[in-house]
Amino acid sequence: MLFIELFIQGLIQGSTYAIIAVGLTLIYGLLRVLHVAHAGLFTLGAYLGVVLTNQTGSLSLGILLAALISGIVGMAIYRLVYEPMLSKPPYVALIASIGLYIGMEEIFRLVFGPFGMSFSSAPLQDIVVFFGIHLRTCQIITVVTNVVLLGILAWIAQRTRIGTGWRATVDDPQMSACFGINPIKVRYMVFFTGSALAAVAGVMVALLTNIVEPTMGAVPSYKSLAIIVLGGLGNVFGTLIASLVLGILEAFGTIYIGDLLDRDAIAFAFLIIVLMIKPTGIFTSR
């Protein structure tokens, strides 16, 4: 039983990492920028989700608005921060992104207070028994939402014209421009989608823990960076697998090697071991 419980825990964590990391890896694939401030949008989404749900009384409205607003902020970040830096050496965008992330954390602290916020009445906390395993509704909702969102994303990428445009732009921006795909539009779309997904992940984590704090993005931030390296920078499929593997590894690691390593350090121990064995990550990018 413990085995299955840990496995499910891992799945919940892993699918959450996946919807955060997928935006990060898409952005890396498109711009070769390590978008550290992505985690700031995750935190923003969490705060908006809690505040708006408390105000409106409707969780679904809260999630929707949080995703929408964070998506727009994401596009603004592309326009105001990264676009002017693309011709500069890569460290410029990276350091700016870190600065932006730290700044966002501090602004959350100033606006929402340092002690965190909770749902006034936390939704979806009923216990469901599933083949003898106790789960909260929100845990099930989290996995289902994550899987559905990733499914929709995969469908858009594989089956629609917009998706073809995305993939073509990642492969060869100049060529795709020749075929009438506007690479700038694609960038905005990727930033919007990636940021909206991160925001949904934020609200889900808020549901699971019922607390949002200014620094809640730090850990997902560096873990999702580790994940996209493991997945082979820019490789979406690799990123999904790496997220799930990490989630499960953490769930088991906390029980079996918890004395040796902090839960949050497992990701990087794993990353460093993988890089020693296979320097290009588990899945080499295209």
Binding site: V219, V229, I272
Partner: protein, 281 residues
């Protein structure tokens, strides 16, 4: 000089060593490290443990220097053979890994850290002298490196590593050397810090500290030694003189990092160059 000023100056001296050492890696060789504070921490913990079992200060400081340099070399070996973006992520991981591991180890004091580190056995003023001696030494060393053929090779690596390779340069070896020298110097700074506060906790050496050091390098102007030293002094002293800044220190660092990169990626040194050029022209 009162005790407060001595203590402040000692802190500035330690940060100068840290910033100059990171500048060696990021500035000279173009490799971004986001985990510099971990090597600072390795130095501090090494010195704390060894001084508690009775090693004298000159041996403990040397051991801290070596320990950080050796672990730095190992980290460098795993990440430098691959793409440039990997180093940033791996070193960021090292920052979290270091705190994550130290917290769980009883012999390192866990969350509570190590207290009761023996005294350095000199007056506070004499200790300030020692710290400043090492600070000046690191400045001179890095100034010397810049002028040597090694510095020339670093320029080439930072500029275009593929071209440097095609000219017969062993790029990996030079990157690794920069990383080893920089991390060892950070270890020395950590040792000096351990004797200075005589009490260390893991959180002092976390990601935020790494970013603080990076801010000093970025604001000073990546690669410019005098810009970096000047920015370090400015950034350490500013919160002390303007107390209200202290509460918003991180916000200030965030905004500074962001706006320097967005509007003036060459930092203070670029600004000075511009002024000088204006005068000449």
């Amino acid at each position: 000089m009162g005790l407060y000023e001595i203590s402040l100056a000692t802190g500035v001296g330690i940060y100068i060593i840290l910033a100059v050492s990171l500048n060696m890696i990021t500035g000279y060789c173009g490799q971004i490290s986001l985990g510099h504070a971990a090597f600072y921490g390795i130095g501090a913990y090494t010195v704390a443990l060894l001084s508690k079992i009775g090693w004298p200060i000159y041996l403990t400081l040397g051991a801290g220097f070596l320990a950080a340099g050796i672990i730095g070399t190992i980290v460098g070996l795993t990440s430098l053979r691959v793409r440039e973006d990997f180093l940033a992520i791996v070193t960021m991981g090292v920052a979290f890994l270091f705190v994550g591991i130290v917290r769980q180890q009883e012999f390192l004091g866990g969350e509570m850290g190590i207290s009761g580190i023996p005294s350095h056995g000199m007056s506070k003023l004499a200790y300030l002298g020692l710290v400043l001696f090492f600070a000046v030494l690191s400045i001179l060393f890095s100034w010397y490196v810049k002028r040597s053929w090694m510095g020339f090779a670093f320029d080439a690596v930072a500029d275009d590593e593929d071209t440097a390779k095609v000219l017969g340069l062993d790029v990996k070896a030079y990157k690794l050397t920069a990383f080893a020298m920089g991390t060892a110097m950070a270890g020395l700074a950590g040792g000096l810090y351990a004797y200075y506060t005589r009490f260390i906790i893991p959180d002092t050496f976390g990601f935020i500290e790494s970013i603080t050091i990076l801010s000093m390098v970025a604001v000073g102007g990546i690669g410019s030694i005098f810009g970096v030293v000047f920015a370090t002094i400015l950034l350490v002293l500013m919160p002390e003189f303007f107390r209200f800044i202290n509460d918003y220190k991180l916000l200030l660092y965030g905004v500074l990092l962001f706006s320097v990169m967005r509007f003036a990626p060459e930092g203070l040194s670029g600004f000075f160059k511009l002024l000088v050029r204006r005068k000449d022209g």
